[in-house]
């Protein structure tokens, strides 16, 4: 099984239409054109399906940056 970091990157690059080398933690949802509400919905449910986790509505809303997404997932996987 691939490392979880890699699996998450795979989802992020496909949803945000970005090359892996251009992916950085400070990409912000409100400033990044491709990260619209549809993409956000997709991102969250793909992560949920891939990792078998569930995000509460508040957690979904609080994912403002790529860094936030990574942190939210790490928190889920740690518990």
């Amino acid at each position: 099984m691939k490392k979880s970091e890699e699996r998450l990157t795979n989802i992020l690059v496909k949803v945000l239409l970005i090359e892996p080398e251009d992916l950085s933690d400070d990409i912000r949802r409100k400033e990044y054109e491709e990260w619209d509400s549809m993409a956000h919905l997709l991102l969250v449910s793909e992560i949920e399906n891939e990792f078998g986790v569930f995000f509460e509505d508040e957690e979904v809303i609080d994912m403002w940056t790529v860094g936030d997404v990574k942190a939210a997932l790490q928190k889920k996987l740690a518990t």
């Binding site: 989802i11 239409l17 919905l41 997709l42």
Partner: protein, 614 residues
């Protein structure tokens, strides 16, 4: 700034990167990346298709997958997605952006919930039968109204989702003890939709209920995306659903496969007949052998539907024909195959010969062979042939065949159903031709009967089908939709003719179409085309003769024809020249114009053809 050349390469690269993927994420991502390229509409008319999806939920996910699925078929779609629950305005307002998109195909995806009262299911149990019927009629009437508006305001196909019969009913196990239980309510609604649109050639009810049942009704919904974003379907189901819609696009653009080419050993029966003998092969009503029998039955059902069958096998002719002719359990006999290639040469070469003998394109052939090496060789050498990835286990053959779904047509005509027999007739005619001396003597022995008429509503679906798919004997290759044909039919100055042909070997049904326009004293032949099955029997001369008579009835002095050369219509190009027309000009694109002066010339019916009058 992206140049045109680069953007089409970019699309190809994106498609190449996902061609073996079928996950929603990959398809969606490909769609988004292609959208960013901001392509103009495709100039390739044969490939271009304008798609639209409107309905009561968030449809972008399905639209994205449908767009990519049709691209993977080789089409160049432009896809319009309606707003969330704005389908009524989009459908009813004839100046909406939906109609300015000019869709060839519209999917109308409306959930029952958006047509019923909020508390419908909650209150259903307490409703009287009469009230249930009122709800039923109102729901169906509403949806039909929207669908009819889509039909009347546009000219494309309208695909209407039926209702999903719910798994949950508050009535539980006694649901069907009621006159109209909850499930019966939706089944009845679906029945009403089907009968409303049964005779509408441009409208189709998509059996969403069956599609969801096949996938698993409890698996098609993802409640998280359902509540968060009104996306009614789970990510895993969306590509499957899109593939089902893509079948309509495929049939609309004439990508339908026509012929299945079969291997024999370990494909139609178990074992190798050349080694084990007819008695040793596995084929019969018990296991082992029943899986091959069932596979043959499924092939037979497609043959009866009009799919042509042929054989491509490495074998000795006598060994291989013995079970086909004599095995007591063999379903597919010699008379079901349009052509045989049973020999030891490579199968790709056999494909080229089969395509020529049957007279169809390689791109309309499907290859079924248990041997992965043969498949790989054919795939590599004749890439236009669709090669089916057969499972190792023959018990899965039948299901694999039934899952192909590449034989769809928009209407099933009498001609389609009898196609198999017609190809056998063709083989027998060829045998007779070899025995008879001159071509005229041969034609005389056929007892040809030709019937030309202005097409009525029974013949129209077949005429539209021929206009859409005839490539070889087609003078102008102008493609017209059902509604365009209808307007030619309705206009006083234009006429649509069909030609039906039969001979002693069989009834070919409608095989020719011509469209004429009267302009002042000229009768202009806008379209003239004929199925390649009847080439070489001079029936085109009889057809032209009838058009000349019509032109005289309409007081025309001249008949004018055009020839627009294409890659495939070489067999038709000398048509006017052969019939005494004079060439009057060539355009820079190579379009030639031909004139027949009716005061000096006439086109007689060949004396071996009998014209059938109404």
């Amino acid at each position: 700034m992206v140049t045109k050349m680069n953007s089409s390469e970019a699309v190809d690269n994106i498609l190449e990167s996902i061609k073996d993927e079928d996950s929603y994420l990959d398809l969606w991502s490909a769609y988004k990346r292609i959208q960013k390229l901001e392509l103009g509409p495709s100039e390739d008319k044969k490939k271009a298709i304008r798609l639209a999806l409107i309905g009561s939920s968030t449809l972008e996910p399905v639209a994205a997958c449908l767009d990519i699925k049709t691209r993977l078929m080789g089409l160049k779609p432009k896809t319009f997605v309606g707003g969330f629950n704005t389908y009524r305005q989009e459908a009813l307002d004839d100046s909406s952006s939906l109609y300015s998109h000019e869709p060839d195909l519209i999917v109308l995806a409306v959930d029952a919930a958006s047509l019923l009262d909020d508390l419908f299911t909650a209150n259903f149990v307490r409703m009287e039968e009469e009230e249930r019927q009122e709800h039923l009629e109102k729901m169906v009437h509403d949806l039909v109204g929207v669908a009819e508006a889509l039909k009347n305001n546009g000219s494309g196909l309208v695909i209407v989702n039926n209702f999903i019969v719910p798994e949950f009913t508050p009535l539980g196990i006694v649901d069907n003890k009621e006159k109209t239980g909850l499930r019966r309510f939706f089944r009845e609604a679906n029945r009403m939709l089907e009968s409303t649109f049964r005779d509408e050639s441009r409208m189709f009810v998509f059996d969403l209920d069956s599609a969801t049942a096949d996938y698993g009704k409890s698996r098609v919904v993802d409640w998280k995306t359902y509540y968060r974003g009104s996306v009614p379907f789970a990510a895993e189901f969306i590509p499957t659903l899109a593939s089902e819609y893509a079948r309509y696009a495929s049939a609309f653009k004439g990508l339908t496969k026509k012929c299945i080419v079969l291997d024999l050993d370990n494909t139609l029966w178990g074992g190798v007949v050349g080694e084990e003998g007819m008695e040793g092969i596995k084929l019969g009503p018990t296991s082992p052998g029943i899986e091959y029998l069932e596979f043959q039955k499924s092939l037979m059902s497609l043959y009866n539907r009009g799919v042509i069958l042929a054989v491509n096998s490495k074998n000795n002719w006598d060994d291989a024909m013995k079970p086909i002719r004599e095995h007591p359990h063999q379903i597919l006999r010699e008379e079901h195959f349009a052509a045989f290639r049973i020999n030891w040469q490579n199968k790709a070469q056999n494909f080229l010969e089969l395509a020529e003998e049957i007279n169809i394109g390689l791109d309309s052939m499907v290859f079924i062979d248990d041997n992965p090496h043969e498949r790989a060789q054919v795939r590599q050498a004749v890439p236009d042939v669709m090669v089916v990835e057969m499972p190792d286990n023959p018990q899965l053959y039948r299901k694999t065949l039934e899952n192909l779904k590449v034989f769809d047509v928009l209407s099933l005509t009498q001609e389609d159903m009898k196609r198999g027999e017609m190809y056998v007739g063709k083989r027998k005619r060829a045998e007779l031709e070899e025995k008879t001396g001159s071509i005229e003597d041969f034609l005389r022995t056929l007892n040809l009967k030709v019937h030309v008429q202005q097409v009525d509503k029974f013949g129209k679906p077949r005429v539209v089908q021929l206009i859409g798919k005839t490539n070889q004997f087609n003078l102008t290759t102008r493609r017209y939709t059902d509604s365009e044909v209808e307007s030619f039919r309705e206009s006083d100055d234009s006429a649509v003719f069909s030609m039906a042909v039969k001979d002693k070997f069989g009834d070919e049904g409608i095989v020719g179409v011509a469209i004429t326009k009267i302009e002042a004293n000229d009768c202009i032949i806008d379209s003239f085309l004929m199925s390649c099955r009847v080439i070489g029997r001079s029936v085109e001369t009889a057809f032209l003769s009838k058009i000349v008579s019509y032109a005289r009835e309409r007081d025309a002095n001249r008949v004018i024809g055009e020839v627009i050369p294409t890659k495939k219509n070489a067999p038709a190009r000398d048509f006017y020249e052969r019939h005494g027309f004079e060439e009057v000009g060539t355009s820079p694109e190579g379009v030639t114009r031909w004139v027949l002066d009716l005061e000096k010339e006439d086109i007689p019916v060949p004396d071996w053809i009998q014209m059938v009058e109404e």
